[in-house]
Symmetry: C3
Subunit: 155 residues, 3 copies
Amino acid sequence: MGNAFFDLSSAHAEYGRCIDDDRLEQWPDFFTDECLYRVTTARDYREGLEASIMSAWSKGMLRDRVSALRQANIYERQAYRHVIGAPCAINEAGGHIRCESSFIVARIMRDGATDLFATGRYLDVFTRENGALKIAERVVVCDSHRIDTLLAIPL
Amino acid sequence: MGNAFFDLSSAHAEYGRCIDDDRLEQWPDFFTDECLYRVTTARDYREGLEASIMSAWSKGMLRDRVSALRQANIYERQAYRHVIGAPCAINEAGGHIRCESSFIVARIMRDGATDLFATGRYLDVFTRENGALKIAERVVVCDSHRIDTLLAIPL
Amino acid sequence: MGNAFFDLSSAHAEYGRCIDDDRLEQWPDFFTDECLYRVTTARDYREGLEASIMSAWSKGMLRDRVSALRQANIYERQAYRHVIGAPCAINEAGGHIRCESSFIVARIMRDGATDLFATGRYLDVFTRENGALKIAERVVVCDSHRIDTLLAIPL
């Protein structure tokens, strides 16, 4: 468990760093080839609604998402800063590690204005590929339902 | 020390998750039967004032607090998101572990508006009960003296 | 690596605590005698500009900085609260440990108003002195270029 805690903490920190460094092309590599990435709200999640702000089922779809962002050039208008809490509710079974983690994401606009962009939790299933942790499933549950639906950069 | 660090980090994350998930009925179980839970401000704490925004001396009092909150239905108006820093100033002696940790709590209102609700530090004394860490003492020192005195949800 | 992770997390937490507790006189002791401490912005850093909001090359210069702050009494007007993410990009070689970490700093004004003061990352080189980690180099890269140039308290 101690080991999983360390590995998960590191994986979270590298994930946030990748996005905050604007290395979006590397972001899909945190996932397994077949994966689930879904962004939803606490309200929809609680009520079991399938509606998602964004969802993808493969690394290829995540890559497409990044290409679209790059073409739209929307990403240039802002930067993010993730701070991710320690993983908890860690449950290791059958080669998978489930865990939950809180996040706070600040957004820095081109003019320098900084605000609290999103808060929420990651509901994750990790798996090991050649010793490295990969995300098989990440449901991003945003606390607020007032999320910019454009959602330029992944969370 | 490494072990205490891991255990304390996990305990903090589970504590924050319990409140943020609105599982307030389980919140008292993070404490020992006799315990101290106290919320105060940096200014009052620095000057040694006993005045507290809230205080409780037993798990029973914490339970009463939760019942009162549920009846008042105030909690429904908002949600919290804790991000808790790594524990530091760890000192293990006589079956107790003292430590300090920074926290930032965002508040998400029913309409989705999100703000920085509270920042501060936990001054903790943990003890082990059947292998699990329990809080014998938690003094929540809020940095700002402008804390909503109603303080619907525990910090 | 697991050990470095724990030691770095602890060092970060103690560093933030020292500043947030307003024990600025102890702040230089986190550094080696000869060191680099530099505060810059993401934009300047990306473009390789040498311009810094603040820089120091020795523990003595850091001490001078604190003395100047104390004399100006500016620090009394506000307090900080650091939350520092888990260290990542850890690279240990030749007695040095390089790592990066996200930070979010809230500022609490004398009247109690709290805002998101700064976000960014620490680009660090640590070294061990008598078993304790010391900062040989800390480049503080602020995400926003709109940083209070006075920058009363160190980040």
